[in-house]
Amino acid sequence: MPGTVAERRSRWLLVAVLALQLVLLSAQAQTASGSSRLEAFFVRSVAPFSRAVAATTGFVESATDGMRLRSTLEQENAELRTELEQLRRERVEALGIEQELDRLAVALDYTAVPRGHLRVADIVYIDHASWLQTLLLYVGDASVVRNQAVVSADGLVGRVVVAPAPYAKVQLVTDRAASVGGMVERTRRQGVVRGSSPGSLDFRYVPLQADVRVGDLIVTAGIDGIYPRGVPIGKVVEVRPGDELFHEIRLTPAVDFGVLDQVYILDRMPVPDEVKETDPDAGG
């Protein structure tokens, strides 16, 4: 195709830029790692805008809340007091169970996985509209690393994929590229939870003979080196016999991502990739 020198040069430049991007994209697709210095740079550059928008809307919302009628607040207060009383009772019961577990662990010389601490983080942007689902957290000076689990009061939210301080980008559990080791709480049957169509999850590799029912709670199995055991992922809404050896199980997430404004980052360090990828036959 003939053209001026400038046009030809621009064409070569286009080809070079596209080829470079394609190489970078292919590398990411192979390693399943969305994090790079370039991404960290751009996330850090655009995140203040989302934080500013979140702060502004938060201010407007709190101003609106402040104008609520007194009767509504009184009613809410009463409800919260009842809930607090119930939670206090449950906490006392849970403490008793925890102490009993600790005593049993000591008696059996059992080394438990450290539970880690929860750190609150504000969500400054949530992208659950596009095909690939993420959210952006403001974490301040706290050190956050890739693969740290992110949870809410209702259940599992996702994992940190890139953390350019003071922000952290979280891949939601509903993202098609996300996968979590899960198990049926009732039977302890394990499988893999994957993101599915927007707002739903698939529970895969559960054999046809396994007992799974609609309404079963699926929790994290704690076998993937990222998520701790027992965090609710979702509820079974559909169980069908699959084409091969496994059930086709559809879940609804435990967390309503549409109402999230704060989440908890689990401080427990994930199992390093090099440890997970160690070849058992390599010796040493």
Binding site: L25, E39, F42, L132
Partner: protein, 169 residues
């Protein structure tokens, strides 16, 4: 100065994107403001400018969305360059032509994104066709509105400037 103007425009688009996402989950799915910006710069007919703006704006889009980093960077580079290439060869002044350019750019971007995702991912998540069509139409309408409003504003400023200069004389 044009670089500063570009950065201000990009900052405004990023802020508008976040505001839209706060208002409704569907707004960012409905309209890609970043693409409107890419096509607008592409319509100036400078191939290098179209390429550079497409690349930069695409990478910023990738920063606010999930998945493989660089998907929009790749797609928007082609769209920016393609728009500039078309603008060099066609006279695009009337609203239907402008609408067509923006809509075609949106369709091309969606097609490239789908192609890339299918090519690179083992289990790709494809967007809903209805939403894709709505997005194409919405980008066309937004593009026309933006270009016409900008044209009218520039004309008014020019008239005001001229009247001011003649008064001073």
């Amino acid at each position: 100065m044009p670089a500063v103007r570009f950065l201000i425009a990009l900052a405004a688009v990023v802020a508008l994107h976040f505001v839209g996402a706060r208002i409704s989950d569907d707004l960012p799915r409905l309209l890609d403001l970043f693409l409107v910006m890419v096509v607008f710069y592409g319509l100036q007919g400078d191939l290098i400018l179209g390429l550079a703006v497409g690349l930069l704006v695409g990478l910023v889009t990738d920063a606010v969305t999930g998945g493989l980093y660089g998907l929009h960077g790749f797609a928007d580079t082609i769209v920016g360059y393609g728009t500039a290439y078309a603008a060099q060869r066609l006279v695009i002044r009337r609203p239907p032509g402008i609408f067509l350019m923006f809509a075609l750019a949106a369709a091309a971007q969606q097609a490239i994104l789908v192609g890339l995702v299918v090519m690179l991912l083992a289990d790709p998540a494809l967007p809903d066709l209805t939403w894709m069509l709505i997005r194409v139409a919405a980008t066309g309408v937004a593009g026309v509105l933006f270009v016409l409003i900008r044209r009218r504003s520039l004309k008014r400023i020019e008239v005001w400037r001229r009247s001011r200069t003649s008064k001073l004389k």
